[in-house]
Symmetry: C2
Subunit: 143 residues, 2 copies
Amino acid sequence: MAKASREPKISAEEATARLRHAGLRPTRQRVELAGLLFQDGDRHVTAESLHDEVSGAGVKVSLATVYNTLHQFTEAGLLRQVIVDAARSYFDTNTGDHQHFFLEKEGLLIDIPGETIAVAGVPAPPPGLSVDRVDVVVRVRRN
Amino acid sequence: MAKASREPKISAEEATARLRHAGLRPTRQRVELAGLLFQDGDRHVTAESLHDEVSGAGVKVSLATVYNTLHQFTEAGLLRQVIVDAARSYFDTNTGDHQHFFLEKEGLLIDIPGETIAVAGVPAPPPGLSVDRVDVVVRVRRN
DNA sequence: ATAGCTGCAAATGCTTTGCAAGGCC
DNA sequence: GGCCTTGCAAAGCATTTGCAGCTAT
């Protein structure tokens, strides 16, 4: 059930550089997690899935640290949080403008490039409010 | 802090009829909750807010029953669940096609009529999947 | 009568936090 | 050395569930 066809994780040096850039101290755990997360531009993880993955790779990182790290990465702009499921939080390594397909049954997220979808007719928000972001979630199910 | 300008709740008879229609037994608690929920077509509640409201009205209903009732109403098609916040579930009395503004800071949901927003360019979902629904959440903040 | 509901309290599942020990600069 | 980070375990929340007692039909 492990992901067989993923590019090898990025080097510790790359991960370290990336962390320093974001103003985060490159600890062993962060470097390890960054290595797994940023190997390509399209990953969706939950704290648990990432913890399983890093644990499966033989690295010891506590679940609490995974949670903390995901939030730190998010604050640093390295990740984006995606809210589609009441039960758990997803984190997306793609921080750019894009939307998602979501397969609720399996907890699967699939990116939709930002230019693909056009949302027209968004009304002006009520007085005193301004638009922060427009999220589109295309909920899908298996046929 | 109570909502001062809300229409009086619908009569117990109306609520009862509505419940029977949905195939739900009109118990005291359900009639009471339905009366509060369906007084107009645009309410967004959480289990806790509804529990506070019904309790504040001097009616005794346990929080567990509020949760159960919200889910039963949702299954019966009387409510729709809205997922915009990782921390809590919202239920919307408007079950028709429409979208939402969401003020995260205050947990406030505001309806956007279905015809207002047009989402174009939704790509065909990956093979084996079909679109269930397209949710648009316009996240706003106070100026 | 009886199948279905309710309420309480306990349990659950995800997430956060306090704090001592350890690691990076 | 000093400050930041980690890890564990405990705490926290929203939500769900088991089950005895109650209620609508």
